[in-house]
Symmetry: C2
Subunit: 221 residues, 2 copies
Amino acid sequence: MHSLVASASPVTNMHGLYLVADRGLSATGPVQHFAQNESIFSEGEAAEVFLKVTSGMVRSYRLLDNGRRQLDAFHAKGDVFGLEFGTEYNLSAEAVCDCTVVAYRLPKLEAQATIHDFLWQQLLSYMASALVQAKEHKKLLASRSAIEKIAGFLIEQSRLHQNGGVVQLLMSRTDIADYLGLTVETVSRTFAALKLLQLIEFSTARDIEIINADGLHQLCR
Amino acid sequence: MHSLVASASPVTNMHGLYLVADRGLSATGPVQHFAQNESIFSEGEAAEVFLKVTSGMVRSYRLLDNGRRQLDAFHAKGDVFGLEFGTEYNLSAEAVCDCTVVAYRLPKLEAQATIHDFLWQQLLSYMASALVQAKEHKKLLASRSAIEKIAGFLIEQSRLHQNGGVVQLLMSRTDIADYLGLTVETVSRTFAALKLLQLIEFSTARDIEIINADGLHQLCR
DNA sequence: CGCCGAGTTGACCATGTTCAAGGTGGGTGG
DNA sequence: CCACCCACCTTGAACATGGTCAACTCGGCG
């Protein structure tokens, strides 16, 4: 389903909607580079552009009054982020690792009449991708145990960053914790538990080898 | 923000997008009625139409292999649901209480060229609403304690179903539990705790009077 | 070498789940 | 009209899980 939405060639479905890839949008400038942990935009800033990841990974998050941080999403290559429906960004975005992004600007209000069908389709496609991602994330957040969340998270990541059976995690344990609503300690312990169960293997903390994919799937149901 | 998206008159924002209410869609038939707990559609069925609530409330949910149920959303009057980007519904939908809905069908593939701008805007608006709702839901699911979740849930509900300071909950404790990733027992105990803290009051389980709204807001941060 | 951030591990404690039992209220049938 | 039922809600006690606090390891880097 996700691949459908992100597909480069037009595809259709029962509702008759085409979902297409980049057409009708022009970048506002060259590709921008951001160093690890560098801020891309912050909550409350004027949302003048939206962005697409061309390499690396971006996290968008919200800081709560109580000092906790909630990660809303990880954005990998090809993902669009910062597309807002208010005048300001309602999340902050930072580079998870060194990364590059392109910025886009929508046609101005007065030019709205000239927005073409394929641009609407384009926007709709971005929204649909975001919605699918949000639903996946909700599935993880609603799990009742840490082991289900981490198993689900690893499966999610393995779909994106699989290099010959090894999943390259670009984010820190803290990032994972804030994404799943857990603490760093629990994340760490749960990775250890999965290793004990012989479902995964790892020498370095961020290169996870999936030994038993079926077992992982069983956990996250 | 939510009100912006659902607004009946066109509004604009920094990105220059109009978000509009119903235009360009025709219902496939008369308003349909569903009795409490009646199924509207099920996961896996062909997604031939999408629907809008005209009265009452609908829940969409997913059943997991382990027997648990995850509520994806409550849909109140005006909310659109069942708008899929695959050929089948990926959730099931049921009436929370007696309710009425209208069904819509998108123009067929061959007629796609005739989809007008305002229809694209319309669809985009639905997607945006769904995305905003999903983000709110994620905020609740990521909370670390039951009391934060319930407080946030009550605030969410009070924005929809406030009748003179009293929030009318249309759904059961079980529904709330499955929506927040808790057990019925915890939901019940947490309502009792909020009552003890003098933040809410209730004689019947589903008519919740909010005594101290500020206190509730403080809890969910 | 020493520092520092990231990750891990342990012990203790708070919170939520589980299992079990009891209330409560609306609806039905005698 | 009352008695009964059943679904829904509440409450209690024991237990499991994850959070908290603290110490320790590891690897990179000046």
